[in-house]
Subunit: 133 residues, 2 copies
């Protein structure tokens, strides 16, 4: 049994190579635009500037066969099971990005500190609720 | 373009009906077992009791055509775009659950406060890093 993930938009970012992307958004990622499909416009209408949201992406360049990695691609770090890491390479390469909404222009939403590269598909957005959940 | 999500395990929970599931894990959800496929065993090996992790599920009973809801299924709440809610009904019904590891027994991991119903497919696990990211 598998499930069919359908992108609802795409990341527009100055980050254009996997290698240049910081490992986590807090480590100096640029601002980026989330560009959504018209089909989900109604779903966006209650987002506001200043909101903290989780953006879910599909890390389409990831290697899905990977189950253990050297964290941060540093061979000095011992091989670690991927479910204890934020490696993009993992069986289902869902990206989880906690970002703040900076601007909204129709189907385009500008967010701070997004570590996804240009062209990354967006699959969901959820509000951050209490305690970072 | 769509992407193929492949479950890596399944939730075993006393919650057996969608209707009985609390809206969020903090609202009195039971403990549950995450039961993983042998193929991802290596990916789990660095998880420890006490770890705080995000469990990603696929909310397989959700209605994917929904883009706005009355929050908490209460008609007194105004219709709200799904990306400002945690509604299970949404275009890509990925569940995000922040839980604590209580016990580990091979491919079975017991966690506290999981609001997913019995049989919900698991698609990813990530560590919680600083600031609830």
């Amino acid at each position: 049994m598998t499930y069919d993930l359908r992108p609802i938009g795409v990341v527009e970012s100055p980050l254009d190579e996997t290698q240049s992307a910081p490992k986590q958004g807090v480590e100096g990622s640029p601002d980026a635009w989330l560009v959504f499909d018209p089909a989900v416009a109604v779903g966006l209408r209650n987002l506001s500037i200043g909101d903290e949201v989780f953006v879910f992406t599909w890390l389409h360049r990831a290697d899905r066969s990977v189950v253990a990695v050297h964290p941060r691609d540093d061979p000095r770090n011992p091989m670690t099971g991927v479910f204890s890491t934020r490696s993009a390479d993992r069986p289902n390469p869902i990206g989880l990005h906690r970002v703040r909404v900076l601007a909204i222009a129709g189907l385009r939403i500008r967010v701070a500190d997004l570590e996804a590269v240009d062209g990354t598909p967006i699959v969901d957005v959820k509000p951050v609720i209490d305690a970072g959940r």
